[in-house]
């Protein structure tokens, strides 16, 4: 009903994991196949659900010259696949004080000038396992359109495959993070009720109510809880 791991399956396919052939279940993910082969992954697995970008993988398929990219936890094996995980993609994050930046093209120029090397080849977009329009947000970054970079890079999991494949050696995911922070810090619309609530809390507006609730017996509290209205 709720089993921790899938055991041996009937139908298998043959995949080459870093050059070594293994028979693995035909419906396995790449990560499942690597573990089925007996590897203890140290670098190359994180959330295992497609959020953390730890399991960037490169592979080729039989009779096909192309290099494909994917997340090992989200990509299924195919017969004849030859694959390797990428344990780490070298990239240097710029150091900055977000309080001293402005949400414009200067921030990009200062911290990630390689963006301007983009030749618009589209390799980054083709290599994104999330299906993001990576090249479009690099173009937006060149224009200083921080809001668009934020929007288009929102779902980036920072697996690093785009920057690994990029002929201009741009560090796209890092540009995305900078832009998201600039947007959140400077371009957001402020929420008036949030400011009011923070002020109320700081002013001790809820002290009396808290004291009452915290000293209430379990029965009284339960009564209050089940009688509360709901939005």
């Amino acid at each position: 009903m709720a089993r921790a791991s899938a055991e041996t399956k009937e139908s298998t396919v043959t995949v080459s994991i870093m050059g070594k052939l293994h028979e693995v279940p035909e419906d396995a993910t790449i990560m499942g196949a690597i573990e089925y082969a007996g590897h203890q992954i140290i670098r190359g697995a994180g959330c295992r659900e497609g959020y953390c970008g730890a399991c960037a993988t490169l592979y080729r398929l039989p009779g096909d010259y192309k290099i494909y990219t994917g997340l090992a936890c989200m990509t299924l094996v195919e017969d004849g696949m030859t694959l390797t995980q990428i344990p780490y993609v070298p990239a240097v994050k710029a150091i900055y004080d977000i309080e001293k930046l402005k949400p414009n093209v200067t921030a990009i120029q200062q911290h990630y000038p390689s963006v301007f090397r983009c030749v618009a080849c589209g390799t980054c977009t083709r290599s994104c396992p999330q299906g993001l329009q990576v090249m479009d947000y690099v173009q937006a970054a060149k224009r200083g359109d921080i809001a668009q970079v934020m929007d288009l890079s929102f779902d980036c999991v920072v697996c690093g495959l785009c920057m690994l494949r990029c002929p201009a050696e741009i560090v796209q995911p890092l540009v995305g993070i900078l832009a998201k922070r600039l947007y959140g810090r400077y371009l957001r619309q402020d929420s008036p009720e949030l400011a009011e609530r923070v002020k109320a809390v700081e002013g001790g507006a809820y002290n009396a109510e808290y004291s009452e609730l915290m000293t209430m017996g379990r029965e009284a509290l339960s009564k209050l809880y089940y009688a509360r209205d709901s939005e």
């Binding site: 573990e35 659900e49 808290y210």
Partner: protein, 570 residues
């Protein structure tokens, strides 16, 4: 795609949908919520915690004699990797003000606050990469009482009722009262919250909320927060040293019984390093990868309860370690993503759980333990589940309702991660329901703390999922994201303050020898060596061949566990 034999059941879901859509459009609940008595009955009858073998008394340590989750008792009744005489503590390899064990949300918050408020330097030691944590994976959102119809005290009441009135009140107050401030702290760091057109926060319901209080960043809420915090941590390399693939394996104490750092283990070079620290924070998260009761888990790869066992050996008391959270909606089919999280926000947005006949059987937004138990009851007792080809079972979660309720494109915009996860297998969740079953999700209990994140041991602080008391025996959705932010920040504040004034004595690991003696005295016979660090997913026959050399038959034995057995003196 779903197998052909499910077509009949899927047809029934479509048939009942128009009537259910009508229900959803009305202000009343689509199904009657349970009262206290009904809640108790479904919990005791069907929650996995209440199964006969789910709990057993632990035989050693500060909670000796108390019934804990069986797997937790086993974890605690285990050997250390180290014996005191093997480690030279005279010249620590590293010294710092604050040692933070764990690079998730709580750890990063603590490092930033300790630095900003006290000018305190820290080391973040983490098992995998920084951000390889459940913090990263939260999809649906973070609770915080910011809207005008809501208040922090109402949030308090919801949280404490959801926890069956067993939560520590001072912790719930800290959580709910700090909530709005955390929203602002994160926003100023650059988190992009979902907003309405006028700039007010977009809010949604979660299970057990009486006001719409769930704030979100599409369905990448945890990822957005975590990446922002990590980026800020990386902006201060002179103040915060990050040591990745270097988990702590034991705490170091001083001769006055204060925590004074930890021994780290380098996953790659297999060396041990000692860190002397004026204060130490455990922010190691939970234990989903122990696969309690054989359940699949939503948790990240390193969630093996390492902090629990280290703190316990050093003498810290645990609270509510008899209580496990099963998320009501883990994936049941496709097999490849079985156990993965389906965000509760799907139900918050109007998704309905349905049995094989396409009928509602529970209010969609009960607190998690109630909802999960009701789903198990529907499958186990009422035969209302849909079996999967691999022998699992599940009920439907009718997601196509969401676009019908909120307009086409809503799912696309708000649940892109969910959509991606299923479309991979030919299931378009805007057109087809998902098949779900409860999945091991959260460690409700943990190391007991107060509102300053202090434990029984001076100098030892704990924050986030590793703690116990805040959520009682059941956490509500969105309160863990808030938890790691609120208590991560508090830990940074108070552990930082403490680090400024403490003068450490002579370092010691003798507590490990005392624990070994206690194990022997209690007649515990085990070959389990902990912290576990990583689970192993090698097939049984592979494991057997791997274990040949050490004679080690651990169920979850990793390479690292076997290394321990080969070492002289073990």
């Amino acid at each position: 795609m779903y197998p052909d034999y499910m077509a009949e059941s899927l047809r029934k879901v479509v048939q009942t949908r128009p009537a259910r859509l009508e229900l959803a459009r009305k202000p009343d609940p689509v199904y009657p919520p349970m009262n206290a008595e009904e809640r108790r009955a479904v919990l005791e009858g069907f929650h996995p915690d209440f199964e006969a073998s789910a709990r057993r008394a632990v035989r050693v340590g500060p909670n000796k004699g108390e019934k804990l989750t069986t797997e937790v008792s086993e974890l605690l009744e285990s050997h250390s990797w180290l014996r005191s005489e093997q480690v030279n503590l005279d010249k620590p390899d590293f010294e710092t003000d604050l040692l933070i064990v764990g690079g998730g949300g709580a750890g990063c918050n603590a490092a930033l606050v300790a630095m900003k408020e006290h000018g305190v330097r820290s080391i973040i030691a983490t098992k995998l990469r920084m951000g390889d944590a459940n913090s990263m994976m939260s999809q649906g959102g973070m609770q915080a009482a910011v809207s005008r119809t809501d208040s922090p005290t109402r949030h308090y009441l919801d949280a404490i009722g959801g926890g069956h009135f067993e939560n520590k009140p001072e912790l719930v107050r800290a959580l709910t009262e700090d909530g709005p401030g955390v929203v602002k702290w994160l926003e100023d760091l650059g988190v992009v919250w979902d907003k309405e057109k006028d700039g007010s926060m977009k809010t949604m319901h979660g299970g057990g909320t009486s006001r719409k209080r769930m704030l979100s960043c599409r369905d990448y809420t945890g990822a957005m927060i975590m990446r922002t915090l990590m980026d800020e941590v990386r902006n201060h390399p002179d103040m915060i040293a990050v040591k990745e693939f270097m988990p702590a394996v034991e705490l170091i104490m001083d001769d006055k019984g204060r925590c004074a750092g930890a021994v780290l283990y380098d996953m790659e070079s297999e060396e041990f390093f000692t860190v002397k620290a004026k204060s130490t924070l455990i922010a190691t998260g939970g234990y989903g990868r122990l696969h309690i009761r054989g359940y699949d888990t939503t948790n990240h790869y390193g969630a093996t309860g390492d902090g629990l066992v280290m703190a316990y050996r050093a003498g810290a008391k645990l609270m509510y370690m008899d209580s496990v959270q099963y998320h009501p909606t883990g994936v049941s089919f496709p097999e490849q993503i079985a156990g993965f999280l389906v965000t509760e926000a799907i139900r918050g947005a109007g998704g309905q759980p349905l049995n094989k006949d396409g009928e509602l059987f529970v209010f969609p937004r009960e607190p998690r333990d109630i909802e999960a138990s009701a789903i198990i009851r529907e499958c186990v007792q009422n035969g209302g589940g849909v079996p999967t080809p691999s022998g699992r079972v599940g009920v439907w979660l009718d997601s196509p309702l969401i676009d019908m309720l909120h307009g086409e494109g809503y799912t696309d915009k708000h649940f892109p991660a969910m959509y991606r996860q299923f479309i991979q297998y030919g299931i378009d969740i805007t057109k087809l329901p998902m098949l779900i079953y409860p999945s091991l999700h959260y460690q409700n209990g943990g190391i007991e703390i107060n509102e300053r994140c202090e434990t029984d041991l001076p100098g030892l602080y704990v924050a986030g999922e590793a703690t116990g008391g805040l959520h009682g025996r059941n956490r509500l959705m969105g309160n863990s994201v808030l938890d790691y932010n609120v208590f991560g920040r508090r830990a940074g504040r108070y552990a930082g303050e403490y680090a400024k004034k403490v003068k450490l004595g002579k370092l010691s690991l003798t507590h490990l020898d005392a624990y070994e003696k206690e194990l022997a005295g209690a007649g515990v016979k085990t070959d389990l060596v902990t912290p576990v660090l990583l689970p192993s997913y090698a097939p049984k026959d592979v494991k057997k061949r791997q274990l040949l050399r050490g004679g080690n038959t651990l169920p979850g034995a990793s390479i690292i566990n076997r290394l321990h057995n080969e070492r002289s003196g073990a």
